[in-house]
Amino acid sequence: MGWFFIRLWALLVYLFMFLPVAVVVLLSFNASQFDSFPMTGLSFRWFVELWQNDAILRAFQTSMILGGLTALISTTLGVLASLALVRYRVPGANLISTMLIAPILVPEVVLAVALLLFLNFLSINKSFALLLFGHVIFTLPFVVLVVQARLVSIRRDIEEAAMSLGASPVQTFFEVTLPLMLPAVLAGGLFAFTISFDDITGTLFWKPGGVETVPTQIFAMLRNSISPEINALGTVMIVLTVGLPLLGAAIARQLARKSGG
């Protein structure tokens, strides 16, 4: 009896989470030019208009480049730091871990203000570089957490075996450690990309005038009124941000299976 209500409750919670998103996807195919019910028919016209909207395409390009570079830098820094924490006995490891995750513990607004004002003081104005610095700093903790969790499971003795067979430390890293770490590295990179791609809180503080990322573009469009185009853009974002990690997870599993024999 109790279990029945728990199930029902969980079902309602899932509906609460997914219904609004489902409505976004549904309305993006609305043929009517008003963003509203009742829907008059199904059409792809909003996706076509999206494709012809220069502002949105530019925002997409900015988000992709920003997300890609953020993932690259953040993953590099994060993987090196995780290696140190998992592989070596470092004095003060707890303090260092706390330091590395500090950017999640500070509210993003505060982080955004501090970085903006400090870099401005150093004469680095609102720019793509500032955006990139900001995105690296708040994605880094997530990369460290994800990569660390996965590195723990890679056994040290495989590397020792390689070295005892005559491989140099560098050779060992590139031929043994890195392939074993690849799933963790990919997962960290995807995580960083998605968080960067999605960010709006810090981005609104850091972006130079005239530069928009996809979320800030949507936000700017919302100021006027909600148009079917926003729903179409939302649908594209959903497909991208849900599809990519799922694809990443599938690839990572595939790689792990291969390397695990």
Binding site: M17, F37, P107, L115, I218
Partner: protein, 288 residues
């Protein structure tokens, strides 16, 4: 150099890029805005370096800021409680489900990946004047004119709950999943009812997860300014909106620094209290 010394230096070489980045891009900037908050915005628009208490005086004594800070904490608290009430049973269901836990959890993680701004604005499609709810009510003949349901404090809380609920469920789940199910059976066999078994065994053991989820919901909720801008009315500003206004619109950076630090102090105190009693490890479990 001896092998041992090289071995001892290696982790620091690996750690230094990340630590340098966090020091230069987080810690130094934070110290910088502490200094900046004592500077003064002059009438000409230039910032006068020095030690002035004007910004702090304004931020701490103006009832306008105090009321919005209190209102922000209230909204964050209600959001956290609603997340706990909605999320706990759902997490319990996933943890005790005999079905495919991985799929249930993955389904729940999906919203995490869906853009925050999309999820927030999706409520306009549901509750707007020509949204789903109004359309259905009119179609059913219950109302003639669309109801004005959006742009108030309730919709801000609704948006925040929708955004933060997965954090709560995930943390509670991690906690519940680590509890031995046979403990409840043992309680039952010793004469406790199912409800007693839950209240006296499972619930206390899952409190760390509930606290971790609660902390995340509260801190993330209290630090937001996008949700009130999208789903709130003109009087529903939260504290982060004031920071945004001061920094981006009024360009009063010294005052903006003081306001940011106030927010950091309030939310940082919560994180420290949490860390003192429960430690960061639980939080990391839910995030990692």
């Amino acid at each position: 150099m001896s092998v041992e010394r090289r071995e001892a230096r290696q982790p620091w070489i690996l750690l230094s890029p990340a630590m340098a980045a966090i020091t230069l891009l987080l810690f130094v900037p934070l110290i910088f805005i502490v200094v900046y908050s004592f500077w003064l915005r002059t009438a000409t628009g230039a910032d006068q370096a020095g030690f002035y208490l004007n910004n702090w005086n304004e931020a701490l004594t103006d009832p306008f800021y105090r009321d919005i800070l209190l209102n922000t904490l209230k909204i964050a608290a209600i959001t956290t409680i609603v997340c706990a009430l909605m999320g706990y049973p759902a997490a319990y269901f996933i943890a005790r489900s005999r079905g495919n836990k991985a799929i249930l959890l993955l389904l729940l993680m999906l919203p995490f990946w869906i853009s925050y701004i999309i999820r927030t604005m999706s409520w306009i499609n549901i509750l707007g004047v020509s949204g789903a709810v109004n359309s259905i009510l009119i179609w059913l003949g219950i109302i003639d004119e669309p109801l004005q349901m959006l742009y108030n404090e309730t919709t801000v809380i609704l948006g925040l709950v929708h955004f933060l609920l997965p954090f709560m469920i995930l943390n509670v789940f991690v906690s519940l999943d680590g509890i031995d199910e046979t403990l409840e059976d043992a309680a039952n066999s010793l004469g406790a009812t199912k409800w007693q078994g839950f209240l006296e065994v499972t619930l206390p053991l899952s409190l760390p997860g509930l606290a971790a989820g609660g902390l995340l919901c509260f801190v993330l909720g209290a630090g937001t300014y996008i949700t009130p801008l999208v789903l709130g009315g003109s009087t529903d500003a939260m504290f982060a909106n004031l920071v945004f206004e001061a920094i981006i619109t009024q360009l009063n950076w010294p005052l903006g620094s003081a306001l940011s630090l106030m927010l950091l102090a309030v939310l940082g105190a919560l994180v420290l209290i949490y860390n003192r009693y429960l430690g960061m490890a639980q939080l990391m479990k839910g995030l990692g």
